[in-house]
Amino acid sequence: MTEARSISEADLHAYADGFLDDADRARVERFLAENPDAAELVADWQAQNDELRAAFAAHEKSKPTDIQLISGAHHRTAARPPRRAALAAAAMAIFALGAIGGHYGPLLFKRPDIQLAYTEILPREARNAFLVYASEVRHPVEVFANEEAHLATWLGKRLSIANLKVPNLQTMGFKLVGGRLLPVAGKPGAMFMYEDQAGQRVTVMVGRNKENRTTSFRFASASNVETFYWIDGELGYAVTGEISRDLLQKIAEECYRQFPS
């Protein structure tokens, strides 16, 4: 307890930024375990960090005009490189960059990071899938819960997830209706549907994208339909329902726990 009192805000920043050594990190972690408000604050900061890094990562790149920047900077007004880059200069620049370091070349052709685009697509498609399928009375899913093992193997194979387990949400009062294959951002994805005793439905969508990078959990809402979504490695997840945000968040957390990481 005495050590907990000696944690300063600067320690929390340093923790969030990964600047602490093992001993201090452990000390802060003990403090956070006992102070949920501080833990939430730090988690927010870390989520900001992840998103900011992801947002600007794609801008770390060379341009064909870089050579002109260095060599022609003294007559700038005339020589400000035309933004429609000269191809000859590009060829020369690539040659020069190659001479400087082999690691440089690939950067030139790096595709822009599309992770944020995916995080935009994911909640939208999750919401659409929910609106389309959750209102289906007779055919809400392709494979019903009575074939759960088959459902898991089938969708696991399409998504290349070894040992895919269909999340069990019984503790939350939701039982599995079944699942289906559906496109998520243009690739095979899975949707699982659950239902509580009152017939309220919740869907869990999973999609894969090679360019994905892990994010924190996010929340999106549009006309009473709420979606929690997150990306874990290459897999994107979205939990959607017309239920309270609190309950949906609990379901999302439960899914996160149960899905393989």
């Binding site: 805000e9 600067a10 920043h13 340093a14 930024d17 939430e40 604050l41 988690a43 927010d44 900061w45 989520a47 900001q48 960090n49 998103e51 900011l52 890094r53 992801a54 947002a55 600007f56 990562a57 801008h59 770390e60 790149k61 060379s62 341009k63 870089d66 050579i67 920047l69 260095i70 060599s71 900077a73 003294h74 400000r80 933004r83 429609r84 620049a93 040659f95 020069a96 960059l97 001479a99 400087i100 370091g101 440089y104 822009p112 990071d113 599309i114 944020l116 685009a117 995080t119 935009e120 924190s216 959990f217 996010r218 929340f219 999106a220 997150w230 968040q249 957390e253 996160y256 726990r257």
Partner: protein, 176 residues
């Protein structure tokens, strides 16, 4: 050892150091500004300034030196007003060459929220988070006490957090 001063497409030493650092400087300049165009402007100014002041470089940490130049240029300048009409992230699409519709920055509400931060606080946040400098390095770079770095960092994070809450983005605590 001097760089060959012919047409030299393969600059060495000082120029080579700048060239090697350009991708990171480009990321930093973009993270301080509102659009690709403004980012490139700041980058060009920084390179120009570095070349002109090359005699002031004491051979110590080149990277810190270049970052310091860019930060100072940005904090001291009223560039966009003076030099060209400022262009927000949305309109940036209509500007020559930045018509990249899948620019992830346009999609991020957090990045938009950066516009509400004071320049100094934003610079500290970017130097620490995106560029990976330690608090002490940032303090040296900006010539301010480390306590000032911490308070700017704190202010930036707090402001972003409030802004995002207004915008319905709740980063949930991951069960670790």
């Amino acid at each position: 050892m001097k760089a060959r001063e012919t047409q030299a497409p393969a600059p060495l030493s000082f120029e080579a150091q700048i060239l090697a650092l350009l991708p990171q400087l480009r990321r930093y300049s973009r993270s301080l500004t509102r659009s690709d165009v403004e980012g490139e402007d700041l980058l060009q100014d920084c390179v120009e300034k570095a070349l002109v002041s090359r005699s002031q470089w004491r051979g110590a940490n080149f990277k810190s030196w270049a970052y310091r130049i860019m930060t100072n240029l940005h904090l001291n300048a009223r560039r966009s007003v003076a030099r060209r009409p400022s262009v927000g992230i949305e309109e940036a699409e209509n500007v020559a060459m930045s018509a990249v519709s899948d620019d992830p920055l346009e999609k991020s509400r957090l990045v938009k929220a950066l516009e509400t931060l004071p320049k100094e606080a934003r610079a500290v946040l970017m130097l620490v988070v995106v560029e990976g400098h330690s608090y002490q390095e940032v303090a040296d770079m900006l010539d301010v006490p480390i306590g000032t770095v911490m308070s700017r960092l704190s202010r930036a994070r707090q402001a972003l957090r409030e802004k995002m809450r207004e915008e319905n983005v709740i980063p949930m605590r991951r069960p670790r």
